[in-house]
Symmetry: C2
Subunit: 413 residues, 2 copies
Amino acid sequence: MSKDASQVSPLAPARFPELPVIAGLKAAIGRAGFYKHERPDLLLMLAAPGTQAAGVFTTNAVGSAPTDWCKRALDAGRGSSRGLMVNAGCANAFTGADGDAACRRSLEAAAVKLGLAPNEMLAASTGVIGVVLDDSKIARALPAMELGPVDWLAAAQAIGTTDTFPKGAGAACEIGGAKVAIAGIAKGSGMIAPNMATMLAFVFTDASLPAQILERMLREETESSFNSITVDGDRSTNDCVLLFATGAAESPPIADAKDDRLAGFRAALSQVLADLAIQIVRDGEGATKLVTVSVSGAASDASAKKIARTICESPLVKTAIAGEDANWGRIVAAAGRADEPITREMLSVRFGELWAAKDGMVARDYDEAAMSAYMKRAELEISVNVGAGAGRARMYTCDLTKRYVEINGDYRS
Amino acid sequence: MSKDASQVSPLAPARFPELPVIAGLKAAIGRAGFYKHERPDLLLMLAAPGTQAAGVFTTNAVGSAPTDWCKRALDAGRGSSRGLMVNAGCANAFTGADGDAACRRSLEAAAVKLGLAPNEMLAASTGVIGVVLDDSKIARALPAMELGPVDWLAAAQAIGTTDTFPKGAGAACEIGGAKVAIAGIAKGSGMIAPNMATMLAFVFTDASLPAQILERMLREETESSFNSITVDGDRSTNDCVLLFATGAAESPPIADAKDDRLAGFRAALSQVLADLAIQIVRDGEGATKLVTVSVSGAASDASAKKIARTICESPLVKTAIAGEDANWGRIVAAAGRADEPITREMLSVRFGELWAAKDGMVARDYDEAAMSAYMKRAELEISVNVGAGAGRARMYTCDLTKRYVEINGDYRS
């Protein structure tokens, strides 16, 4: 799927999952030619009339033409967008009025293809920043694209860039006795950091839910999934997560996000989002370790998250993990520079079940041999208690390896 | 001076500078054995009676026994400290009461050697975190140490850890017609980030200045020097800059930091601190490029500094520079995620005199060939205007290379 596809992440899942059919949804894959080599790089999706949609978008102030478009379209159409076009290879970010115009023209062409009005379309792009989208490539690709049942694997492959494996997740649940399904795909492996951490993710359900409930649940569940991962702390201009509900499962109408009948759906959605988010970390550029950092004893949950993020984004912590070195001193130092309340004398650090530091000092029963053995695992759990309160948070990250430097040192050429 | 000494940074100055003699100052170098291989790792300095001292210290909440000691000693003695002991190889950070006691014992022994009271001593340590200082090594090393004229090169070498070259800077100036000199040494090449960004720096003058003036000038001048550099964003537990004034030059007494007669001294001090700070960046672990990032057009100077820091600490920006790729899109993206006001439509980026982006788009006269040639330089200047006001700031950083990962992936073993 890219020049790195030959080297699949060692943290990749064994296989792409079986995803449920989402009633009321079709897709088409195309080749617009945004890459020098031949590959699918264009995805169209069409959801049934009546579909409701919601999105959360990057907080990067630079943004991009497609994220700007989506925000306007969702606002103007009150969440009634039901067409989606995603291209890989060109982010169309920082491209000014020319980029906006190209985005609009490409969506007008796609809308004709799908039989929609342009304002029913949403768009997402990733790739190089600063290059205006060549919408003529999209216009030329559209006629050959055939809408049909969704091939989730092919869809996930079409939206990838430096991804080394396609990312998908699904779940089934009930709303008020009606069976509903959720399926999602995501892409991303670099320029990944919270708020939004996502690069791109598209999640679909056949549940019948209004846009404002979708948006609220998406926003809340994004906090503990896409906003709790970080690869390199670099928050992209184009990140977005879109959630579409086709209503084709004919689940009972729900008017309140707190309706008890939504509990199962919310849990399933949460699981799908977290699954996709962690897959993005698993594909972190050059990653060889998946690291879960749990911070407890913080002054608040927000404080815990800031401390966890500081640890997760510390180059010294990440390189130590790459070297399979249980360098807990760097974890302690990172916790100390988060500018959040900590009680130094109570600080503790655990790797899995092994104590590294306790009560502000190296643990009395610190076991170097056991620790070294633990560090060889591909998946590590680091728990830090900062002794300042009851706040807690969990974040996911990966190690920082020479391969990351290699991939990112020569991206454009 | 360390396992990496064989690979001197390509950004190292041609030679260690000639530093002026500071009247009223002596030094001794020792070997305490904190390293497996034989090397000087202990420095003692003794300043004349009446010396005034000031310090600025890490804001890392974990801190360390020696920085805690210094803060207490400077407060209690009202800046009259005149003995200094520095060891390399053990940070004595996150070592609890045991670490505090070891620090105290080592300083008591050093005070006896120097003929001082313990509370006239200051201390600084760098090295591995979490290991209690073995003060018996210091006690054994002290008898063989001979105080004499300061050998600045030897002193700079004794305090280094992963440094690949010794760092020194000096200047001469006048205060009210009296000639005074300034000389300083520094160490540091990783775990370098603002507030304090320093690792360690010790600056001496023979001017006659009270501690409160020293402290105020040091704090102000640190902002544009040590607090304006970043290698990896990791702020250490042990960072400190100490400034001693022996008074031996018999410059006229000054009671007010705003006294006009201090203008020359302040400029000289500023130059010495900036020189030392930039040398630390030049020795950034694995660095092959020295990068100056100047941000203008920000809402305030503080906002400009936050944007500059976000650019300087972006792994994607740093790896692109390592790859000699003028990836201005990543600079724009980093500016956009600093959570500071920017006017996207006015954003501009320049490399040296070459425009990359202007008015929110790629520059019309963008010249890829000229840009590629520019990126091959060892020293790069990146200027970013964010079009939101009159605030400006300048920061210094280096690139992120495979060598950084190598050095930090296997530090403890």
